[in-house]
Symmetry: C2
Subunit: 409 residues, 2 copies
């Protein structure tokens, strides 16, 4: 595909009759930019040409037409960068606004030229920034997910935090559905857990980043994020797709928010999961979250019940890591992670990722602390090339975890 | 379905094995509220019971199982209202956050108890408020869509506005993809068009509401909306699904914004259009937009190329109008509307809707002013029960429009 920094290229997978493809592509290129072309006087054509979209390519991806005469094809349109402001609102409304409603059509490719990408913040911390905060290098990080938040008071939550921190987690995150503040506000949680961490640090020698769920009215989120940053929150958990990608972008760009942002994929399945509609997962959870400044990206792992296909997961991770103008994100494949999966995770992901577990920690027969310890033992073993079954001889928590969940091969 | 004001009921259409449905429903009811149940001590069960979800119903909707043993079923879960704050972020993250990624699953029903709904603003103006502003009653309103905005300077845009206003439009709206402010800021457009309207009013005797595209960084939208309100904007066009539903909610709730909000459906197809994923169109574009305070809802009409099925469109309109705690919205079925469709539109929609046209106005052989006049003639005729063909004898613009587009029967 020919490339120019003057255009944002979007690729749509559509189903249509072959003889309709060119007209449809032309209609998109003009209709979603300058509105009309052939009926413009020459002088006007000259002046608006720089704003007019172009058809970059049309490729049929089927072997042949279906019985109804339709084919699957990829249409790539170039949209002039000068039509955009550097916001997701402009980007999405233009490249997949009206088109999202236009029959069988999925946004499967998005090429953003580097000068335009640079107007987006990207991750403020990224892998290296988070490692520097934790002073942990050369191994994956371990994240523990609160088993439950709703209905617990601050003392109960703090006890639950402590139990997890003692297991050796590097990060501990709120439940994403924790919105009500009846029992413990985000501010109160940050303060209580910070004190709890002072105590667990004496025992474990480790820091823990607490990812607090950033909730509240949208126009108050920036102030709350600044406040939580000042209070010492370890990270901000953001339901990006419930609040909007531009909320992420502007929080990430804010110099007064000095905390990594962890993007939760809640609601994103409504956008990416359909085969012939919506936005491909690697664009939505990979490319756009990195552009918008997520330091950590939680996404459905190919191991659990809520899953992405393995190849889609790889494309997504690749989008988070590929060289570019922005910091590299930390992927956190999630759902169904237990200690027996750690060697495979390392093999698939390298060391720059987060082992993120909820049930795989809290479901340990001896509780959450042992559950965390089983994971840290599994991570150490896998990094040293020691089989888990062998490492289990030296770690009672790991032994019991393997009995409970087995070892994935 | 048994109802209680203590719960928000969400209905999911899933594909699963019949013997898995109960376990899946239980998993949702507990997993998306209190996290766990059976392993809680009795005392804790008592204290968190009020936060625990319930399975309201499970109904198979297929005649029988497929060859692979799966059936389609509707699972209805009740989520305790006390788990929520009155924000779309809380609502969507809870009822369709993780679940959106859980295989073949579509959110097809949402019952929000009235006390909770009252915590949302609903439309500030609604049908009656907009009619009062225009002093137009007992007929549908006519809205003209700017043919193109990008690449035009303020003088060109103002001339284009005037051309449309002279045709008799009640509302004139920006192109939703108009983001760049290089040629004319939203503030400058409101000021210029307000002056233009002073002139056209002398000729037509009519007011026009100009719907200005509310664009910019998300955390600046409220200030801009207040400014545009003070400057006399006729309406605010908001790309709700690009910016986020809570942005709509908070703009609608703001007492300093005294302008109707017009919700554009851009990007919404990525959420509603797939048959087995996402959120049903009547919930997304009907129920939620009304709850959030859209006064006018633009949606794909069942007449054009970008369409919704007729029954889905009817459900959507019903959600905008059904008696409830909030003002009634004005639906604006869009895409493919030409004067020959007006009698059918009136028959389908009654009088409380917006005839919204772009190509059907600008494509008129004699230009946009004649295009608007053809519509106003068609609306007058249809209201009087006069066949369009007959009315065309007294309206040259209508006669030419019918020659161009025909009359739908």
């Amino acid at each position: 595909m020919a490339q120019s920094d003057a255009y944002i290229y979007a690729t749509y997978r559509v189903v249509d009759k072959p003889n309709q493809l060119q007209a449809r592509a032309d209609g998109i290129a003009i209709g979603l930019t300058v509105g009309s072309w052939t009926d413009l006087p020459q002088s006007k054509q000259d002046s608006v040409r720089q704003h007019c979209g172009i058809v970059a390519s049309i490729e049929e991806v089927d072997a042949g037409a279906r019985p109804d005469g339709t084919v699957t094809a990829d249409i790539t349109i170039g949209y002039p960068v000068i039509n955009f402001t550097p916001t997701f609102a402009a980007l999405l409304t233009t490249v997949f606004g009206k088109l999202s409603m236009d029959g069988l059509i999925k946004l499967v490719g998005l090429q953003i030229p580097e000068p335009f990408a640079r107007a987006f913040p990207g991750p403020k911390f990224g892998v290296n920034g988070i490692r520097d905060r934790l002073k942990v290098y050369n191994r994956p990080l371990l994240m523990s997910i609160f088993k439950s938040c709703i209905g617990n008071n601050l003392d109960e939550l703090t006890a639950h935090f402590t139990e997890q921190a003692l297991g050796g987690a590097d990060l501990i995150k709120d439940d994403e559905i924790f919105f009500t503040e009846a029992y413990a506000t985000p501010e109160a949680r940050v303060e209580a857990y910070t004190k709890a961490m002072e105590r667990t640090r004496r025992e474990t020698g480790k820091d823990v980043l607490y990812a607090v769920n950033l909730t509240g009215p949208v126009f108050e989120l920036r102030d709350r994020a600044r406040r939580l940053s000042d209070l010492g929150a370890g990270a901000l958990l953001l339901n990006v797709f419930a609040y909007g990608l531009d909320v992420l972008r502007e929080l990430a760009a804010d110099p007064d928010i000095q905390v990594p942002i962890m993007a939760h994929p809640a609601v994103s399945g409504a956008l990416y999961a359909a085969p012939q509609h919506g936005i491909a997962a690697d664009i939505l959870l990979g490319q756009l979250l990195r552009l918008g400044g997520a330091d950590i990206v939680i996404y459905p792992s190919p191991y659990g019940s809520v899953t992405l296909e393995r190849t889609v997961g790889q494309q997504l991770v690749s989008a988070l890591r590929t060289p570019g103008p922005h910091n590299v994100c930390l992927p956190a494949p999630s759902a169904g992670i237990h200690p027996g999966l750690v060697p495979i995770l390392l093999q698939d992901m390298g060391v720059d990722f987060i082992v993120n577990a909820g049930g795989g920690i809290h479901g340990h027969p001896d509780g959450a602390t042992a559950g965390g310890q089983a994971f840290t033992a599994a991570i150490d073993a896998a990094l040293a090339g020691v089989p888990l079954a062998e490492a289990a001889n030296h770690s009672e928590p790991l032994r019991k975890a393997l009995l409970r969940w087995g070892e994935a091969k």
